[in-house]
Symmetry: none
Subunit: 222 residues, 4 copies
DNA sequence: CATGAATGAGTATTCATTCAT
DNA sequence: CATGAATGAATACTCATTCAT
């Protein structure tokens, strides 16, 4: 409705289409939260989304697709936001970069904890390994690019691997907060923990590389 | 086979029962790996396990139960092994403790990477959030107990939270290695990375607690 | 067929719905006749009815429901017809009333003996006691009302019990004719037998009440 | 146990066999009463009867057979008892014959009303039409033979048909008492009703046969 | 574009029956 | 004789998907 008012004549059908698609995804996500993926039927989705059963198939090829798009679009949006935050502002140190990226991640997920918890549970259930890998790599890519342009990035570190591990640590701690811990911690407290962990990792990794510069003890890292 | 040879007549039914249950779980895991949970039918499992369809229901109440037992038994076994490794040997420092625990985790999972990759993919698909949480906490418990008795555990650190985060980091990096990375790294290299990350986290956390910005970087941990 | 011709376009869905439901019931009854209730599968019914398997579940909640509706609708229809015959025409004596009611019963069942034999066999197999009781009472109700307004109903008789027994006798003799006897007798001959039995019962009951008005010989009847 | 003591050595296996068979039938009947035929499994029967699952198949070819034997043996026993009562004592009139036969029927069924109600419900569910017919005819046979030797049997009446209808009436009224009526009536009251109905039927049938136009036997009912 | 009646492939589960002990 | 572990045939039912309107 909003969008229709803003762009009244240009592409009403596209707005409608977009709204319907989002309505379907929202309905789907709500239903998955309360019933679990397997117990959500296409009819349920259609009813809650306020469209006809057949309409679902005008927007998505099938049920799996709704799930995949729901998960992917939201996660890619998060990756894009992280990327945007990274791009904004001037040059940064590694620590500042970690702060900015982790901040977006932590605040976004904890900001709407219930929604994201549902999404992550859904993602665990339905995302096939390849898709999981792709989504993961999209985030790692953002981290790698951000680290690569950090003003004090230590050239000794393996950029790819470091970015992967840094994101893995962030991701793990945030997911813990949402999925494992009994009480969702304060976003800023979590952010500090996350920064500690990542910065601690970078520091140690650097020490290891410097102390054993040409050693064969970590062949996979050099 | 083993058991039947060892105790050929005494307890055939018990051995048989155990063998059958394991055969069912193994068949199930293999099938999930290649087809995905939803595409595995009870008949598939029975056929591959070499038992009758009805026999499945003598050992498990239903399909979900096979999945749950398969995942849980293997993960609890891993937790028990970790616990055993922790209990063995004399007093240790925190760093040594991290080394021992991480070593079991890394070597076990990378030791039979294909098996564990399948199990983790399965776990993602079928474990409901509560069970996931319980399994996770079983591991955290092991870490907490191990850290609590470390000879140089810094009392300033929140034991519970530190153990949770330490395990989360280990778990995340190992799962990355299995599920995300293109090539499974060498176990020892991964172990070093993991130790770096955890020790780095501990060190930083300690620094934050002590609020000593100019203090020596890792006096208590090394 | 009829309805579609009469109202070809107006209410196709309603006619269709009614036709489909009837087609399912008819198919079900045919199959029960030749194979017995337990041996009739939903797929059999769907095939013979010329609809898809899932369609059965659009019209009935399950197999039991098809059976119940099939039996109940036909028996309630018979009760309604009996009631209608009773209501039509002017005042009657008890004997005339018996004649009219018995006539409907006998002619309806013997008129399409094969159909009704099948229905009664089905009813024996699937009707649970409570439903049997309800159906039975629906008929007794018709008889009671009819007797109550008979111009010569003897007030001494227990209306409820008399109606119950009168219907029981009619029902028993007609069911015998369909289910027990080797050759189905002529409808009019059977009707005479039935009338004899009912009228004989009424007469005797009346005599007993009059001859022993305050006797303890029939405590349950007074 | 009892029987084994009485005939300790002669044919213990036969007594045992008989006992086991009866135990199975009793268990079956009890289970059918409380769960319905379809819900009773062979394992249920074996457990309640206190024998192994396989043992059922030493005594009966299958589940249907247990049901059939349970129903048939009890109904044939009733027919035999009726026959015995008929044979005992000296010559009788038709009315006396009706009294004796009806008496056995009514008192036997109402004497253990719950047991017989269960049996009749079971019989409705499981007896196929042919068996129903056979059992029915066994009773009719008893009635026919008894009427045939009544000292005042009117030769004008069709013996076969009269016996069939007489039994049908008795059977119908007794089954009503057990299956339809809310409160099971007193056995003697029911017996009087039954005798009234049968004797009334005989009287009327006789009148019809004799074609006595001037007869004023029941003016109020014609 | 939108709809929902109709479809039928696909599956978990039950339970009568067998047979090795 | 007795047992019960193992079996697999048989079936009700669900639900994603289609297509005529």
């Amino acid at each position: 409705m909003n969008l229709m008012t803003v762009k009244p004549r240009r592409k009403p059908s596209q707005s409608r289409a977009w709204m319907t698609s989002v309505a379907i995804q929202d309905a789907f996500l709500m239903l998955v939260v309360e019933r679990g993926y397997e117990r959500v039927s296409m009819r349920n989705i259609a009813t809650l989304a306020g469209v006809g059963l057949g309409t679902l198939y005008l927007y998505f090829p099938g049920k799996d697709s709704i799930a995949a798009v729901t998960v992917r679009s939201r996660l890619r949006k998060l990756a894009a936001d992280t990327q945007a935050a990274s791009a904004a502002g001037g040059p940064r140190t590694v620590a500042e970069t970690v702060h900015v990226l982790a901040r977006v991640h932590v605040h976004t997920l904890l900001g709407e904890a219930a929604q994201w918890r549902a999404l992550l549970v859904l993602e665990r259930r339905i995302t096939p390994p390849e898709v999981y890998r792709d989504l993961y790599k999209a985030f790692v890519q953002v981290f790698r690019d951000a680290c690569a342009v950090a003003i004090d990035w230590p050239g000794e570190l393996d950029l790819e691997r470091s970015a992967l591990n840094a994101f893995a640590v962030i991701d793990a701690l945030v997911k813990n907060a949402l999925l494992v811990q009994d009480f969702c911690p304060d976003a800023d407290a979590l952010l500090q923990e996350v920064e500690s962990a990542v910065n601690g990792y970078f520091q140690r990794a650097l020490e290891r590389c410097r102390v054993v510069p040409a050693s064969a003890r970590c062949p996979g890292l050099q």
